[in-house]
Symmetry: C2
Subunit: 182 residues, 2 copies
Amino acid sequence: MAQKNKLQFIILGLLNQQPLTGYDLTKAFDSEIGEFWQAQHSQIYPQLKRLESQGYITHEITISGEKLEKKLYHITPTGQALVRDWITTGTPELTASKDEFILKLYFVQTNQDPRLPEMLTEQLQLHTEKLAHLKMRLKTVFPTVTAQKVHYGHYLILQHALGREQYYVEWLQQTLAALPTV
Amino acid sequence: MAQKNKLQFIILGLLNQQPLTGYDLTKAFDSEIGEFWQAQHSQIYPQLKRLESQGYITHEITISGEKLEKKLYHITPTGQALVRDWITTGTPELTASKDEFILKLYFVQTNQDPRLPEMLTEQLQLHTEKLAHLKMRLKTVFPTVTAQKVHYGHYLILQHALGREQYYVEWLQQTLAALPTV
DNA sequence: TTAAAACGTGTTATTAATTACATGTTTTAA
DNA sequence: TTAAAACATGTAATTAATAACACGTTTTAA
């Protein structure tokens, strides 16, 4: 019941900002969007077809260089209405997340387990790198308060991802520090 | 391409602690495990069959009451080796999460958007409730430091979920507070 | 005593998502 | 000038996941 297939709304949301190609949309999932939703091009191209057949988007063909055809997708008024509805409608689901690493920890019975330091250290490094990357991105994309206002949603998403990562790093550090000394 | 199908490892991990029925396993995903992985019984029962055919688990039939047959699954030594491998092997993937609400925010162009207060308030309530629930659980399940050591993994998972939720609540509060006053 | 809730196990159908296959063009840097 | 990287668009095959269908038992509280 109700609203699944969130990919369609994300695509519409992106096209609501500006016309984009399937390739552009795919790339969007590699950057900030990818922090909160993932999709491959093999999911995106068929979805674009479906959205077009339903009248939510249209496309225009442009030629890049000599003969490379790009399909630039535009949102229609019906599509815009659909995005508006999606955003306005409540989100009571609390989309559950998955975390393989935390699950592995769950099966570690005791804080004496000799594998713990190595496991935690590996994650600490990974998450520290990611945190650094997000920090840099936030600083370069939104250097001023004015820049934050130009695309507030983008700012929010990056900043939320950063805070989430920050928590993860701190938690790993604390958990490591709390381990019994050998 | 290495190791997908993480459900199998989670099931094995749980059976490594104690023999369980399919129903028990299903319930495990309703509680603490569910914070970091989800699975329905329609995924679990077939997976149990597969694991058994591969020799990682076996089952024993017990009768509950007059005639209700329960299949109690046990892990085999091969299965135990598989769990050990899974835990010991590195986790370099950083399992990406999904969050529909944050995505909706992404498509809000400006902090002047009249829908923002309502959207954020709804989430604040949901996450505050969840946080309270996790706090209570942590307090009842692990009232003492000694209790934490009895099943350290369980403690870690609950405590991590709580911290994550805490961050989410604080972020929502800050974002709400930073909104321009009407 | 009886109805509801919880226990218990399965399958089928559908949809979502990933991986792999498949092909070609344009740009950029060595 | 040429090879690699990036651009660009699709389909097919497989696997993961959810929702729905289906059935029966035991326990518990009204």
